[in-house]
Symmetry: C2
Subunit: 105 residues, 2 copies
């Protein structure tokens, strides 16, 4: 059972897309931020500020990365990276559990 | 923005009722356990092992406590307590954000 230790967690959830996407914010000792979230089936578009690394902890999703024309399927245990200040699309076909890391460069 | 500090968080989500109820487990330095969760609209029955204190962080729900015949409405900022080794029912009418504390007596 993998855990994050010595972290802070924001009590209230982040809620997007009418609750179809929800997450909790985790802050690490060095200031790094991650969110642990759930996506229900649906089609979503997200914008990034910082660079993001999305790790799929459960379920799967298809992702259309910025400046790409090809959808990629990302399964449990896999990750994808999204550049800062960009947009990406997701098609979630089954409940997905994810960890998003925000990378300040 | 209220946060829990110096805690451990289990990376993977807890998923119940086909994903209509999901939560993350938070462990405190003294070993206390809480879960931070989301409930989508629906009717649910839960069983407790430890005594539980349920705090509503967002939304609202109706609760039927064990050995009670009257449904109570619990709103954001309110809490209710459920004895150990018992069952309780919830009617969730809008997305609810909650914090559940497990109390070992």
């Amino acid at each position: 059972m993998e855990t994050f230790t010595k972290v802070s967690v924001v009590k209230k959830a982040n809620v997007y897309f009418d609750g179809k996407v929800t997450s909790r914010t985790v802050i690490f000792e060095d200031g790094e931020k991650k969110t642990l979230g759930i996506m229900l089936p649906g089609d979503y578009e997200f914008g990034t500020a910082a660079k993001e690394i999305m790790e799929i902890l459960g379920g799967s999703m298809d992702v259309l990365l910025p400046e790409s024309s090809e959808w990629l399927t990302v399964n449990e245990g896999q990750s994808f990276e999204v550049p800062a200040n960009s947009k990406f699309k997701l098609k979630v076909k089954e409940l997905a559990d994810y960890c998003c890391s925000y990378i300040n460069e």
